[in-house]
């Protein structure tokens, strides 16, 4: 009898919970769907606008799906020589720059994770201090100038060689995932620290290497400010600076006009704001697509990276 009563009671409370939970779910999912749309819509709009009839876009007839799709915009974008040069430069800066980042950051982070390193606390302080205080724009510029690095490709590759934040993430990874005994065992077997690092530690560090590669790589791909300050020669400009000219300053290079199209026709085309805007949408897609394709594949790694980094400072 008592059993029946409690079962009855339990059923009742569960019903009650179920009722308020349903309301919660409805509100929660509505808000989530709304934020999903807000996040995704601008991206889809750009994608559709880049292949739509520019008149339809500017008159507001195109809201989501492309109207009269054509690849005209892309044709003009690919005629622009500046874009190709910018692309090549960005790929160069991203690949080589990231390799330099890794070559400097990873061994340093490993060494700092070792208790055998006498004075590591002080060395760490030397690094952390630069996170909160720096010389500022002008002294940094004058410094690069005195080293004869202004307007060179080198400054683009090494001006951010170590990010202290990434260094801390990597050091935390080594501290938490590489057991101290592994280092000791290697030492007993006669491994020097170099050998331990290259033969034993590195093969175990794939997750952190991918995380750093992503963080540094995205940074190089998207950065423009260093280039704007330090570079003067157009031939060294990364893609982002070219984009700035097209998207923000609205200036199209005369290069398009020299190639395969009569100058008058091109000028007339560019005079129409609609067409200029269509080119902008295509340019956005062309420059952003590589990132959009790569990042979902690496997603599980950067979630992990944040978790490693958030353990402690």
């Amino acid at each position: 009898m008592a059993n029946v009563v409690t079962r009855h009671k339990r059923k009742k409370t569960r019903m009650k919970i179920h009722g308020s939970d349903l309301a919660f779910d409805i509100i929660n999912y509505t808000l989530l769907v709304l934020s999903f749309i807000i996040t995704l819509y601008p991206i889809l709009f750009v994608l559709s606008a880049s292949i739509s009839d520019p008149d339809a876009v500017s008159s507001g007839k195109m809201f989501l799906f492309p109207i009269n799709p054509s690849l005209e915009g892309y044709k003009y974008v690919f005629m622009q020589k500046d874009i190709w040069v910018g692309y090549a430069n960005t790929i160069f800066y991203t690949v080589l720059g990231t390799l330099i980042n890794l070559a400097v950051t990873v061994p340093c982070a490993y060494a700092l994770s070792r208790k055998n390193l006498a004075g590591r606390k002080y060395i760490m302080l030397l690094f952390i201090f630069t996170m909160y205080f720096n010389g500022g724009l002008i002294p940094s510029y004058l410094n690069a100038n005195s080293l004869h690095l202004v307007d060179t490709r080198t400054i683009m590759l090494i001006s951010g060689a170590v990010s202290v934040f990434n260094l801390i993430v990597a050091r935390t990874f080594f501290e938490n995932t590489i057991p101290e005994q592994l280092n000791e065992a290697a030492e007993i077997d006669g491994c020097g620290d170099f050998k331990t690092f290259t033969k034993i530690i590195l093969p175990l560090s794939k997750p952190i290497l991918v995380v750093l590669m992503l963080y540094y790589g995205v940074g190089h791909w998207n950065s423009y400010f260093n280039a704007m300050i330090y570079l003067k020669d157009h031939a060294k400009f990364p893609l982002q600076l070219i984009l700035r000219e097209i998207l923000i300053l609205s200036s199209f290079s005369s290069d398009i006009m020299t190639d395969s199209m009569s100058p008058e026709a091109m000028a007339a085309l560019l005079e129409q704001q609609d067409t200029a805007n269509m080119l902008k949408y295509s340019v956005i897609v062309v420059s952003t697509l590589p990132m959009m394709i790569i990042y979902p594949r690496l997603q599980k790694y950067f979630a992990k990276g944040v978790m490693i980094g958030s353990v402690k400072g």
Binding site: L32, S58, L112, N116, G136, P139, V162, S310
Partner: protein
């Protein structure tokens, strides 16, 4: 006497041991060397360059050779026409992004955490990160395209609703909202990652026992999930406070134009223009230094308050 000798011996021994340890692990020091050299050349050397804020810098004379002017550059800053404007704009923009931008990633993480279907959760997260991977130039380009008074999609929507087009980019009162809301669009998902990570550490048995005690969903969030996030929140909040005057030039600079300059000129864009465009090196460095010092003070204060009020702090 004997004790002192003993102590000295011990110290000597310790020094010897330390030396031995350093020699034995010299390879570790080689590993940190490139990073330390980079730090000295590109971080610490420019810090020394800060003294030109107190000089009348002359390229030919160099940092050492230029004449001292004391606090002249600072008094010029404090009495300048732009000073109150850039200070107000910087504070308005950064406080607004802090007040609106700080809680939203937390709310988002708590909401996404309530999605039961793993596949849906995953899809939602992937989409929410996407804007973070779009470069700031492209985001600003999209903003100007979307807000264009005659062709922009946002004004088309407003027209559909029977409203007049708004000149967002030309209206100085709108600037802060354009800046803050586009920033939220770009960074909310990414900002929520760290909270997702913290929530994945919530003890499942706690949730179960709360269920048995009859807690509803909101109560579970309030009493179990939310408290788990508090330490992370505190640290991130202190860090954000330390950057209060550091509104990045990257985005402000791209969004500003001649018509909204009265609301969009901030300390960092001013430093850039005075320094690299007008070549007023000493003055610009003084402005930058003023900025860093205030930031450092706010950071220290925020840390002290949070150590007193809560339990977590940066140091």
């Amino acid at each position: 006497m004997e004790k002192a000798i003993n102590n000295r011996m011990l110290k000597k021994n310790k020094n010897k041991k330390l030396k031995k340890r350093i020699i034995k692990h010299w390879q570790l020091y080689v590993m940190i060397l490139p990073a330390v050299i980079y730090l000295i050349i590109f971080k610490y050397k420019p810090m020394y360059g800060v003294i030109i804020a107190f000089k009348d810098f002359d390229m030919r004379a160099g940092i050492m050779g230029s004449t001292w002017v004391g606090f002249d550059n600072f008094s010029r800053l404090f009495s300048s026409y732009w000073f109150p404007i850039i200070l107000k704009n910087t504070l308005t923009i950064s406080l607004l992004s802090l007040v609106i931008g700080f809680p939203i990633p937390i709310i988002l993480a708590l909401m996404v955490n309530e999605i039961k279907n793993e596949k849906m959760k995953h899809t939602f997260q992937t989409v929410s990160y996407a804007p973070h991977f779009i470069s700031i130039i492209v985001v600003c380009g999209m903003v100007t395209l979307f807000l264009n008074p005659s062709t922009g999609i946002i004004n088309k929507f407003l027209n559909l609703l029977g409203m007049e087009s708004v000149f967002f980019m030309q209206n100085s009162g709108m600037f802060k909202w354009v800046y803050v809301l586009s920033g939220i669009w770009q960074n909310v998902g990414w900002g929520a990652i760290i909270y997702f990570a913290a929530l994945s550490g919530v003890d499942k048995s706690l949730i179960e026992s709360a269920e048995i005690d009859g807690a509803n969903r909101l109560q579970k969030i309030k009493y179990i999930n939310f408290p788990v996030l508090i330490p992370t929140m505190t640290i991130l909040f202190i860090l954000r406070c330390g950057q209060l005057l550091g509104v990045g030039y990257e985005k402000v600079y791209l969004l500003q134009n001649a018509t909204n300059i009265s609301a969009s000129e901030v300390i960092s864009t001013y430093v850039y223009k005075m320094g690299l465009i007008n070549s007023d090196f000493s003055f610009s460095t003084a402005v930058g230094l003023f900025n860093s010092i205030i930031n450092a003070i706010i950071l220290i204060l925020a840390n002290r308050i949070s150590r007193k009020v809560g339990k977590s702090s940066l140091w």
